[in-house]
């Protein structure tokens, strides 16, 4: 499971990074979204991955339980990331209408 998890996180962040470095706002927004998914997965795994662990603690007080803190952190990060994505989408649309094109630097593409 660890390998799958690590590969997923890695692929997501690589795709996110690539798209963030593109020149047009749409791909940048998608890239930032992918990056935040990758970060959320990464944070989630930081307490160590457990399967079949109790959510907080077992009835008898023993045995494996999942670390609850990363879950709380991820929840916060998801909420914040969501708000930020909404904002950046609106901003990209404003930029498109005010600057007349969807390049990040606001300059028209050279068509050579």
């Amino acid at each position: 499971m660890e390998t799958l998890y690590a590969v997923t996180t890695g692929v997501l962040s690589a795709c996110g990074l690539y798209l963030t470095l593109r020149g047009r706002t749409f791909s940048v927004v998608v890239g930032l979204t992918l990056l935040s998914y990758a970060v959320n997965l990464f944070l989630f795994s930081m307490g160590g991955l457990t399967t079949d662990g109790a959510a907080v603690i077992h009835d008898d007080g023993h045995g494996a339980y999942a670390d609850p803190l990363p879950q709380a952190l991820v929840l916060t990060a998801i909420v914040i990331g969501f708000a930020m994505t909404a904002f950046v989408v609106i901003l990209a649309m404003r930029a498109r209408s005010e600057l007349g094109n969807d390049q990040v630097d606001g300059k028209k593409e050279d068509r050579e």
């Binding site: 990464f42 930081m46 990363p70 914040i80 930020m84 950046v88 600057l99 606001g106």
Partner: protein, 503 residues
């Protein structure tokens, strides 16, 4: 009451911001009154807190009474109290200035302004790494909207850069916080300091990676060399009161560097001691050099001031990179001076631009100013202070910084800082003579400036003579702060004495 005082700088702007959301448009007088009163209350709270902190006591406030290291704590020591006071003083100048007309150019100015204060104050008070992230996001979200306040091409354009870069920065912050949590098992910074000291060898690499990723995030906030390119454009485009408030934003990054690295990666950290030192020192010097080039190349007054902010960031980073008690004390003195004076200069640039018609703040010949003499005098005082010519606070601040460097560091710091100061002297005298002396053809036009605007500028620029007049109490406070920072065990003992006792 007194025990809850620590949480006041967070609660007051939060409540004021909620009240100010009540109606999007209209109610101008009511909103201005609420916003100014809330800022005054923050200022009063900051003064009350700094008198407590000056006694050398470290206060902490456990939110929800969950004791550290498990709950989230707000920590008040000398450093955070000082930063709170500087923020409140700056905010009062900016908010009164905005009451002249800037707040009506878009919606919800005052509400967002208060929330930005909430984020900044929270970042200065919190003792929890993840909570620091949350407050960073609060202040960033408010700053995104404030940067766009009033609209216009330049603001949208710089807003896109600013938002995208900071979103990427937030992702990095989360990664770093995750790594540090994974390696140490705590997010409380004081507790983390203890755990890092007892770190098993195989986890050192992980903590090093986390610590340095964190440095990238703080470098982005404080505009360290390869990460500063968003700053000049954003600060030059932002509305004046917002740009003035942004003068403290780069210092949030500096504060975070001081707090995290002096506390967690201090002497007790063993092999990880002074993890960031070389990076901060060399990149600070490089930032200084780059800012000198930017200052000389600026063709617009606001851009010029934005590069002056960068100059101050370079100086502060270099002094943080020296990592000595004397340097930290000099840094704090210089930080108070530079935050207030550059904030005042941003406000002044707006006033100058408003009286020059089409030319605005561009450094070209234009019609003479209506209140040329008064504005010229204010510009002269601000320029003298920011360049560091005696007798104003800039000279004292820079002298303290220069003096705190040891022999080898002097070799690098003195030429860089002095050449950068010379560049700013040249650029500012060129700007001043174009604005006030070479502009004498045609009739003066433009309305007289309002009293609110004058109050904002005079309030902030008067810091320059006052910091010199009260140099002794201020510098003894900063020295005590530096001494407290050099002994992080006092903070960890205060915070964790209860927890340790019960274990």
């Amino acid at each position: 009451m007194m025990q809850h005082l620590v949480v006041f700088p967070i609660v007051v702007p939060l409540v004021a911001g909620i009240i100010l959301l009540y109606q999007r448009q209209g109610l101008v007088r009511f909103k201005r009154a609420v916003s100014v009163v809330a800022t005054l209350l923050s200022l009063a709270a900051a003064i009350a807190l700094i008198t407590r902190a000056a006694e050398g006591e470290i206060l902490y406030y456990a939110l929800g009474d969950w004791q550290p290291p498990f709950g989230i704590v707000l920590v008040l020591d000398r450093l955070s109290a000082l930063m709170l006071l500087v923020t409140a003083v700056l905010a009062l100048g900016a908010v009164v200035f905005a009451c002249a007309s800037d707040d009506e150019k878009g919606s919800n100015f005052h509400g967002l302004f208060q929330w930005q204060l909430l984020g900044i104050n929270g970042a200065f008070l919190t003792g929890d790494l993840f909570n620091l992230f949350v407050f960073f996001e609060v202040l960033l979200l408010a700053s995104y909207a404030l940067l766009l306040h009033g609209g216009g091409k330049a603001r949208i354009q710089s807003g896109v850069y600013y938002v995208v870069l900071n979103l990427a920065g937030s992702s990095l912050f989360l990664i770093a916080a995750g790594i540090l949590y994974g390696a140490t098992g705590t997010l409380n910074m004081a507790d983390m300091a203890i755990r890092v000291a007892e770190l098993p060898a195989e986890r050192q690499g992980l903590v090093t990676a986390g610590g340095l990723i964190l440095l990238v995030v703080f470098g982005l906030k404080s505009a360290m060399l390869p990460l500063y390119f968003w700053l000049p454009r954003a600060y030059a485009a932002a509305p004046a009161p917002v740009a003035a408030l942004f003068a403290i934003m780069t210092k949030v990054g500096i504060y975070a560097i001081l707090r995290v690295y002096l506390l967690i990666f201090g002497e007790s950290a063993g092999a990880l001691d002074a993890l960031e030192q070389a990076w901060v020192w060399w990149l600070g010097l490089a930032t200084l050099a780059a800012s000198a080039v930017g200052i000389l190349a600026s063709r617009d007054l606001r851009q010029l001031i934005a590069y002056l902010v960068l100059l101050s960031v370079g100086t502060l980073l270099a002094s943080a990179g020296m990592r000595s008690e004397a340097a930290a004390s000099a840094l704090l003195y210089y930080l108070i001076h530079t935050t207030l004076v550059t904030g005042g200069l941003f406000l002044l640039a707006e006033m100058i631009g408003a009286q020059r018609g089409k030319a605005g703040t561009r450094l070209v010949k234009a019609r003479p100013l209506v209140q040329g003499k008064a504005l010229g005098l204010a510009f002269f005082i601000g320029a003298v202070a920011v360049v560091g010519v005696p007798p104003l606070s800039g000279a004292l601040g820079k002298a303290l910084v220069l003096n705190s460097a040891d022999d080898v560091q002097r070799l690098w710091l003195w030429p860089t800082l002095l050449i950068a100061s010379l560049a700013s002297l040249i650029a500012l005298s060129r700007a001043g003579s174009t604005l006030f002396w070479r502009s004498h053809y045609g009739n003066p036009s433009g309305a007289a400036l309002s009293r609110c605007q004058w109050f904002g500028v005079v309030w902030l620029l008067s810091a320059a003579p006052l910091l010199v007049a009260f140099a002794q109490p201020v510098s003894s406070y900063t020295q005590a702060t530096a001494e407290q920072l050099a002994h992080p065990e006092r903070l960890t003992d205060t915070l964790l004495s209860n927890a340790r006792g019960s274990l």
